[in-house]
């Protein structure tokens, strides 16, 4: 299944074209042999992700959904699916690329295949990845979100618009904002060269990222700081994966203490539900969660907010999420439900601006055996 995929390199345009045409051929052959055309793909839901023992990340399981032209919805899906493939093949031939949003707007002119929302077209692009076992980079589709940023002693080479690789040190060659991660961080675009760091600290909020930079945390602890910008984009997770895999640096994740932040960690360490087909490409199973935990709220007596109904529902859903079925997470989620409180990273400022770098992080990293 999805787990057997073993490929890393972005492939040639012509290869992609042949793969996509193979899918189209199956549809056409169904029609010619008098069968109702249909597509099968793994169901992309929480209930259908399983732990891949080999890679320790979560991937889609055995349950599949069927899109059949027998129903109106299925037939509409197939029409859109074919239009997207046609659009991609056209881009491959003319060496163009487009953002997911551009594709959504282009579909305005597709009449029967017009998407109702960008969510729908994004989902279909992901389905196409799942079915073809290719990546959206192969399809010349890219996200519009600008990547997150990195500060720390790590040297990379990035291919610029002229096609030359340029060397950048993410500590010395960047301003306070750090190095901005491009949307394509594959080998063809970005080489990881050398580093002088002990670990990577991935931080959810900009405020905390800036606090750590200002306090010189990266220098003192030889840390590479990565600003996740909330739920991390694919390219952010991908670069974390490459740094971990190619440079051997451990990844620590430091977020707010609420159910949504737990999910941020889940998507980094275990793989996200929506992208479970490429979990082994994105997830870092050895990533460690620093905090804020529910226990931190109690141990450090942090200022808190009450959980909203949505928060409570999210926590309860996490209790059923196969990825969170560890002793640590069950205990933390249940503790949070029982105290009915959440806390932000920046609530540590209660004890002063330096507290997070002088006390909290050293303590927590010590517990995790890092510092």
């Amino acid at each position: 299944m999805a787990g057997t995929r073993k490929r890393r390199k972005i492939q040639m345009n012509s290869e992609t074209e042949q793969e996509l045409k193979g899918i189209v051929r199956n549809i056409l052959e169904s029609i010619n042999s008098g069968e109702i055309p249909e597509l099968h793909l793994p169901s992309r839901t929480r209930d259908n992700i399983v732990l891949d023992q080999l890679t320790s990340v979560w991937k889609y399981g055995e349950s599949t959904t069927r899109r059949s032209a027998k129903s109106l919805d299925g037939a509409e899906y197939l029409v859109k699916f074919l239009y997207v493939i046609d659009f991609i093949i056209e881009m491959l031939k003319t060496n163009k690329s487009s953002t997911l949003r551009e594709m959504y707007y282009i579909s305005e002119g597709w009449d029967l295949a017009k998407f109702g929302s960008q969510g729908e077209s994004d989902l279909l692009a992901e389905d196409l990845e799942v079915i073809s076992k290719l990546l959206r980079e192969d399809f010349k589709l890219r996200p519009e979100e600008n990547g997150a940023s990195i500060i720390g002693d790590i040297t990379i080479e990035e291919k610029n618009r002229k096609g030359d690789f340029k060397t950048i040190n993410c500590k010395d060659d960047v301003g306070d904002g750090g190095y901005t991660i491009p949307y394509n961080v594959e080998q063809e675009k970005l080489h990881l060269k050398t580093h002088g760091a002990n670990f990577v600290m991935a931080i959810e909020t900009g405020g905390m990222f800036d606090r750590l930079v200002e306090n010189g945390f990266d220098e003192r602890f030889n840390a590479v700081l990565v600003h996740l910008k909330g739920q991390p984009a694919r390219s952010t997770r991908r670069i974390l994966k490459r740094v971990n895999q190619e440079m051997g640096l451990p990844i620590y994740v430091f977020t707010d203490g609420d159910p949504w932040s737990f999910r941020i960690f889940g998507s980094i360490a275990y793989g996200a539900i929506k992208t479970a087909h490429i979990s082994d490409h994105l997830a870092v199973p050895t990533a460690e969660y620093v905090g804020i935990t529910a226990s931190d709220i109690l141990n450090y007596n942090l200022p808190t907010d009450k959980l909203t109904d949505k928060d409570v529902n999210a926590l309860q859903s996490e209790l059923k999420d196969p990825r969170f079925q560890t002793e640590f997470w069950k205990a933390e989620i249940e503790t949070m439900l029982s105290i009915s409180k959440k806390a932000e990273q920046q609530s540590l400022a209660k004890y002063g601006l330096d507290y997070v770098t002088e006390k909290y992080l050293p303590d927590k990293l010590g517990e995790l055996g890092a510092a």
Partner: protein
């Protein structure tokens, strides 16, 4: 009312007008917001009653203008038969004046109180007199009388009378100044006029409001409303005070003659039985009856067997009037469904014949997340107040509407949906909750009849909704086989640079039917219609197609087509125009014969009553036969 004044002989009997002066609210003049509505309503009730009685197609003009702070003038002018000069002071200036006291009939105004009360209210609140202008058929000049009301003596106080030229054949106009507050909305003069226009589709009505805006409701029916018949009262339908007053004014000399002469369904034999049971001497003059004796008579009425009152004396709005009136007034919301009006047979409660007719308007721009609008009428008069206390509302609320496809929380209360329910309760004597006649009292027999009418309407709505669902399904399937699957074939072959595949095999797997689909395109005078038939089965098919447009007329009148031998995978088209002012065309009802129903999608087998149903616009009595037809579906 009269009973209130009977207490104690030492008390001087108060005049009815004096009583009203102190108790304005009893007749509905209980707030400034309501007073203008009451004045207009009372005048129009009289106008329409008069037109109906004289077979005149009504022409009514209403104007409400602002005179000062909280003071308005209302003028209501009709083309009624006109009133004799000498009668004017009695009709307009005397409460309880009625020329037909001993007989009863279905009419809008009942007790001869309304318009006089309105004038009295105006006099009390502004000190001004009212002006009545009237011209009788065949007379050259009209008479204009200015009058107030002498409260002590309950009679008109005529201030002036003059002959005037009025450029009309006949008619009456009344002008009243009164304190009031003009308001818009569900309980306004405008709403009253609009709802009146629905049930009086033969009325031309113009209305000029205080902001000088003019509205016109045009008639869509040319014939006058059918007249109701006068009958003598049935003994079981009367109250003690009423029997007493009939007895006191009767010309009959003996009680025996009185009983058989003044009442309906009392033969000499029945009168004899009543006297025997009550033990009262039959030779006694009726004027000398004591209250106790009247009481024994009433008890005897209940024991003696007599026939129920005649039922042919009522005058419904009628199916055709209702249908046309609803279309005329509610078409602006583009409803997708008008039910056939339901006409219940005449029933009797406590000796009073009554009946119920009702209809439904559904869909269009009516809001689906709001409660259904209930438009209530009693004896052709819109009821705008006291909805919660009304038997009509009670009947609708007590019914479970959910099986009929409407939303209703916990299966009771006024249901939710894009719908207007019109209910008309009519009879010789409608029991109201109060003298101001704002709501029908909760008499069980009436509630039951309204419920029966509602069930019948509910079945119509359910049928319509099911038809719509089927239509949507057929459309979807049509889109699937006719548009999406060919596109899948086309696109996949073009991506691969190959020739388009044949879809026949796939299509016959998905739809082994003849598809019937309707496309419409509006043009100036109506719509162009194309009925397409597509044979997706593997054999040639023949059938006969029938079209029944719910609105408009088929141009040329041909509505039946023989379709011979459509081959597999082939199409056949029928085109024609529907003429009429059509805004939101709800879709033609398409029927077929000559082919097994399992091989057709998008049309229905021809109903047995095809010709009757489509070619006549007659009143059906809605209830019983339909009830049997659907009862197993519930």
């Amino acid at each position: 009312m009269s009973k209130t004044q009977l207490k104690g002989s030492e008390l001087k009997e108060a005049s009815i007008s004096e009583f009203f002066e102190k108790n304005k609210h009893i007749l509905g003049f209980d707030s400034l917001q309501k007073s203008l509505f009451m004045i207009v309503k009372e005048a129009i009730d009289n106008s329409l009653d008069a037109c109906e009685e004289y077979g005149i197609v009504p022409e009514i003009a209403v104007r409400v203008s602002k005179i000062g702070a909280d003071v308005y003038e209302a003028q209501i002018e009709d083309n009624g038969p006109g009133i004799d000069r000498k009668e004017v002071p009695k009709v307009f200036g005397q409460l309880l004046y009625g020329s037909r006291f001993h007989s009863i009939r279905q009419s809008r105004g009942q007790q001869g109180i309304g318009i006089t009360a309105a004038i009295l209210y105006g006099q009390i609140t502004t000190g001004k007199t009212a002006t009545v202008k009237s011209k009788k058929m065949g007379e050259d000049v009209a008479v204009e009388i200015e009058l107030g009301i002498n409260v002590k003596e309950n009679k008109a106080d005529v201030k002036g009378e003059k002959a005037v030229i009025w450029d009309t054949d006949h008619g009456t106009s009344v002008t009243v100044r009164a304190k009031g507050k003009y308001q818009a909305g569900r309980q306004s003069v405008f709403e009253y006029l609009k709802e009146s226009a629905v049930v009086n589709p033969n009325m031309n009505l113009t209305y000029i409001d205080p902001d000088n805006r003019k509205w016109t409701f045009r008639r869509v029916v040319e014939q006058p409303s059918p007249k109701s018949k006068e009958i003598k009262p049935h003994p079981l339908g009367l109250e003690l005070g009423e029997i007493r007053s009939i007895a006191q004014t009767s010309n009959e000399k003996t009680l025996a003659k009185f009983l058989s002469g003044e009442f309906n369904r009392v033969s000499e034999k029945v009168a004899g039985e009543i006297l025997q049971v009550s033990g009262i001497d039959g030779s006694k003059p009726p004027s000398e009856l004591t209250l106790e004796e009247i009481d024994s008579l009433m008890k005897a009425f209940k024991e003696v067997r007599m026939m129920p009152p005649p039922t042919d004396c009522l005058s419904p709005i009628g199916g055709e009037f209702l249908r046309k009136g609803l279309r005329n007034i509610y078409e602006e919301t583009h409803p997708s469904f008008y039910s056939k009006p339901v006409m219940r047979p005449v029933a009797v409660y406590s000796g009073n014949p009554f009946s119920v007719e009702a209809s439904i308007v559904y869909g269009g721009e009516l809001k689906s997340d709001e409660q259904v609008r209930v438009v209530r009428y009693a004896n052709k008069v819109p009821l705008l107040y006291q909805a919660g206390a009304c038997a009509i509302t009670k009947a609708i609320s007590e019914m479970d509407w959910r099986p009929y496809g409407l939303e209703q929380r916990q299966g009771s209360g006024v249901p939710y949906g894009p719908m207007i329910i019109l209910v008309h309760v009519y009879g010789t004597r409608i029991p109201y909750t109060s003298e101001s006649k704002e709501a029908v009292a909760n008499v069980e027999d009436i509630v039951e009849e309204v419920k029966l009418a509602m069930r019948s309407l509910g079945r119509g709505v359910r049928k319509y909704l099911r038809k719509q669902q089927k239509r949507v399904k057929a459309r979807e399937k049509f889109r699937l086989v006719q548009i999406l699957l060919p596109e899948i074939g086309r696109k996949s072959s073009s991506i691969l640079g190959e020739t388009e595949p044949s879809l026949d095999l796939v299509l016959s797997q998905i739809a082994n039917v003849v598809f019937v689909n309707e496309d419409t395109e509006p043009f100036e005078n109506g719509i162009h219609v194309r009925i397409s038939l597509h044979n997706f089965t593997s054999r040639p098919r023949s059938l006969t197609v029938y079209a029944d447009p719910p609105v408009g007329e088929i141009s040329g009148g041909v509505n039946t087509w023989e379709v011979k031998e459509i081959n597999p995978a082939e199409n056949y088209s029928i085109t024609y125009d529907v003429i009429g002012s059509i805004k939101d065309y709800p879709g033609t009802d398409i029927y077929f014969t000559g082919i097994d129903a399992v091989y057709v999608q998008g049309a229905e087998p021809l109903p047995a009553d095809w010709n009757m149903e489509s070619l006549t616009i007659e009143e059906e009595d809605g209830g019983d036969e339909e009830e049997e037809e659907d009862s197993d579906e519930l």
